[in-house]
Symmetry: C2
Subunit: 413 residues, 2 copies
C-alpha cells in the first residue's frame, strides 16, 4: 500500500489531543481553543506537503494542490474536524486524515494530477456548539446567511457570527464562502460507518450508494383517561396501549420493506402518566429512513393504514403529522464504479450500502458529483467515547480513497 499506517494513526492521535473533556471522550466544539489547536496541526501538515493553505469566510480550513490544467475544476477531498460532546476520535477526523494522507502520498511520490486537489477540513458538521449541523458544507453551497449566523447561539448565548468574528474570520462576508457549480469536479469523503453492518458482515469497505431519505413523523393517540381499577378492559380507550401496538407494527413494516429500510420510535410521552390512571394521550416520534424513497413512502402509508384500522371503533383517535421529509441523495454512479474497481483490484471485501446518517457529502451533492466511503466501526458505536475503528481497517479505506482521488484528479503516472 502507498499509504502509511503510522502516519494515519499519528494524525488521529494528535487531533484527539485537542479535546476539552480528556478522559471523558473527545469534545472539540467549533471556534474554540481546541478547534484552533487542531487547525494549527492540520495547517502545519498541509504546508509540509507543499500545499497553499487558506480559510474561507465560513471558517472552513482548505489547502490547495495545483493540477497541470489551468482554471480546471477542483477535486475536493476531506471531512469535518469538530465533534459532538464526549464523542470519539474518528467521526470526522478519519476523513480529514484520509485527505491529508492522500496529498502526503502524492507529494512524496511526486505525482502530478491534471485537476487541482483541495483538502477541506470543515467545522460545525455536528452542530454540537451552535446547532447548525452540516454548516461548513452548507456555507459552500451558499445556504448560510448573515442573519442565520446572528441567530444561531451557543449554550452561553454567543452568536455564531460573534464567535467567527472573535476567531478572526469575516462572517459578514459569509456569501464569499459559496462555491459555484462547475468549480468543483467532484467531492470525495471518507467516514466511519457509525453502524455495525460492515463489522457484522466481515467487510473492509462500505461504498455508499445513497444517503437515505428521512421521514420524521409525530403520532398522537387520544383515548379516554380513566381509573386503572374501575374501568373494565372492554370499555377502555387506552392511548398507550394503542401506541404500543403501533410501535410494534412500525418495526415490522420497516423489516417488510427491506433493502436496509429502518424505522425508529425514539421518543414517547404519556399523559397524565400516573401509575393508576389509564393514559388519555400518548405521543411519539417516528423516524423512517431508506435509500429508496418508495420504501419510505410504503412504511409511512403502512403506518397510516394501521392507525386507521386499529383505532376503528375503539374510541381512540389519532393524529399523524409530518415533521421533516428529506429525499434520498444518490452518490455519483461513476465514483461508485471507481471505488468498486479499486476495492476489487486491492482484494478488499466491500459492499454498496446506504448511509443512514447525513454527511457533508449529502450537501455537496447539490454542487457536484460526490462519493462517500465507509470504514467499519467497532460494534457500530459512535458519538461516544468507545467509538473505534481499527487502524489497519482505516488504512485500507484511505488506500481506496487515495486511488479514487488519483483517478478523479487524473494522476499522471
Amino acid at each position: 500500500m502507498w499509504t502509511k499506517l503510522d502516519r494515519i494513526q499519528r494524525d488521529i492521535e494528535e487531533l484527539a489531543k485537542f479535546n476539552s473533556t480528556p478522559g471523558r471522550g473527545l469534545t472539540r466544539f467549533s471556534l474554540t481553543a481546541e478547534d484552533r489547536a487542531a487547525r494549527n496541526y492540520l495547517k502545519k501538515e498541509l504546508l509540509g506537503c507543499g500545499l497553499k493553505v487558506f480559510e474561507d469566510a465560513a471558517g472552513n480550513l482548505t489547502a490547495r494542490r495545483e493540477g497541470l490544467l489551468q482554471d480546471a475544476p477542483v477535486v475536493m477531498i476531506g471531512s469535518h474536524f469538530d465533534s459532538v460532546k464526549s464523542g470519539g476520535n474518528f467521526d470526522g477526523p478519519a476523513g480529514v486524515a484520509a485527505a491529508l494522507e492522500t496529498v502526503r502520498v502524492l507529494s512524496e511520490r511526486g505525482i502530478d494530477t491534471l485537476y487541482p486537489i483541495e483538502v477541506v477540513a470543515m467545522i460545525e458538521e455536528e452542530g454540537a456548539r451552535f446547532g447548525a449541523s452540516l454548516y461548513g458544507s452548507r456555507a459552500m453551497a451558499g445556504k448560510i446567511s448573515v442573519a442565520q449566523l446572528k441567530d444561531r447561539k451557543d449554550s452561553e448565548g454567543i452568536s455564531m457570527f460573534d464567535a467567527l468574528k472573535n476567531f478572526g474570520f469575516r462572517p459578514e462576508d459569509i456569501a464569499a464562502a459559496q462555491r459555484l457549480p462547475g468549480s468543483i469536479k467532484a467531492f470525495l469523503e471518507l467516514h466511519i460507518e457509525q453502524g455495525p453492518l460492515l463489522e457484522s458482515e466481515g467487510l473492509d469497505i462500505g461504498i455508499v450508494g445513497d444517503i437515505v431519505g428521512i421521514q420524521d413523523l409525530i403520532i398522537k393517540l387520544i383515548g379516554r383517561q380513566g381509573h386503572a381499577g374501575t374501568i373494565p378492559m372492554h370499555l377502555r380507550a387506552d392511548a398507550l396501549n394503542a401506541a404500543a401496538r403501533v410501535i410494534a407494527k412500525i418495526s415490522d413494516l420497516a423489516v417488510a420493506a427491506g433493502e436496509g429500510t429502518v424505522a425508529t420510535v425514539g421518543w414517547l410521552s404519556v399523559k397524565p402518566g400516573g401509575f393508576n390512571i389509564i393514559p388519555g394521550e400518548a405521543e411519539f416520534s417516528v423516524d423512517i429512513r431508506s435509500g429508496k424513497q418508495a420504501h419510505v413512502d410504503t412504511v409511512t402509508q403502512g403506518i397510516a393504514d394501521f392507525l386507521q384500522e386499529m383505532t376503528q371503533g375503539t374510541g381512540v383517535q389519532f393524529e399523524m403529522t409530518s415533521l421533516m421529509k428529506v429525499e434520498p441523495v444518490r452518490m455519483s454512479a461513476g465514483i461508485v464504479a471507481i471505488e468498486t474497481a479499486c476495492c476489487e483490484k486491492m482484494g478488499l471485501k466491500s459492499r454498496i450500502m446506504s448511509s443512514g446518517a447525513g454527511h457533508d457529502a449529502m450537501v455537496m451533492a447539490d454542487l457536484t458529483d460526490v462519493g462517500l466511503l465507509f470504514v467499519p466501526s467497532l460494534a457500530g458505536r459512535s458519538h461516544c467515547p468507545e467509538e473505534w475503528t481499527d487502524y489497519g481497517q482505516l488504512q485500507k479505506g484511505v488506500e481506496v480513497y487515495l486511488h479514487t482521488v488519483m483517478e478523479l484528479a487524473e494522476a499522471q503516472l
Copy 2:
C-alpha cells in the same frame, strides 16, 4: 319507596356548597373551613333525627342511634365527606347522604332496631390534603400512630397532628379512635361506582363481592442505544420496541384472565428519548387488579414468561420489580345475600361485581363483616367536575341500603 329523593338531592347539593373551588369542581380537603361547614350541616341533620353526635380523636364525625339491646355491637353506616382537588359532588357524600337518609326514615317511621346504628362521616379518605388515604377507617382499625400524624404534612408543611389540634381534636389520643373487634356488628357503605360497568350494562345497583387485589410492578427493558439511521433492523436491541410488545401483551393477558381482571400501563419513560436515537432503556409501570388473587398471579406470571421468551437472543435484558401487592378483600357473603334479596324484592337490576378502587369498607373488613353497594356513575367518570349520578339512581341505591341496614340491625316492624 321509603326514602325521599328530594331529601337525598338536598343533602348532596348542600354538601357541595362547602367547596374551596366553586366553578371548578368540588374541593373539600380535611380539617379546613369547608370541612367544618360540611360537618356542621351533618351534625344539624343528625341531631334532627334524634341521634347523639360525637367526634372521635381521629376527627371522624359519628352519630349514634341506640338499639333495643344493651351493650350490643353497632351496625356502622356511612362513607367519607372529603374530596380530591376539583372532584365531583358524589364521591363520598353519596354514601354519607345514604346513611343520613337511612336514620331519617327510621326516625320518621318510629322504627326501632335491636342493634344500635352509628352513622359515620370519615375524613381524609382521599388523602388529598395529607396523602393519608383511607385515614378515617385506618384510625378506627388502630393503624394510625401519633408519629404518623406528625410526619404527614400538607403542601404548606402543616402536619396532620397540628391541623387536628388546631381544629379542636386530640391527636395525642389517636389510639382512642380505635374500635375493638366485636364492637361492630357490620359496616355498610354506599359509593358511586366511579366506573362505566353498571351504566354500560343498564343496571341499577352494583353489589360488591370483593375489593380487588392489586399488584404494582415496574418493568425495565435495557437494550442498546444507537443511531436511528446507521443500525439495520436486524442488529438492533431497541428497548422501546420491546416494551411496546410487552405492553400490548399485558392487556391481552388481562382480557384472557377475565372475570373483571384489569391491567394498566399508566407511566412510561424512554431513555435517552431522542428522535433519531434507538432507545437504550424503557421503563414502565404495570397495575394489575382482580377480585381473585389467582388472576392477579396468572397475569403477573404471564408477563414474566413473555419477557423471558420475547427477549431471548435479542440483546434486550429486563428487570421486573414488585412495588406493591395487596390481596383482594371479600365482602361478607351474608351481607351480599341480603343486598341481593333486597334488589330482587324491589325489582332492581343488579349484579355482583368487584370494586376496582379501594374504599373505607376495605379497611373496615379488618374489624367486621362489610358490605359495599355501588350506584351508577354517568359515563363512569369520577374525580373530576363532570362526576355525576342520576338522583333517581342514587335513591334506588339508598333504598336498598336502608333495607339492608334494617335487616342487619334487626328492625322491629
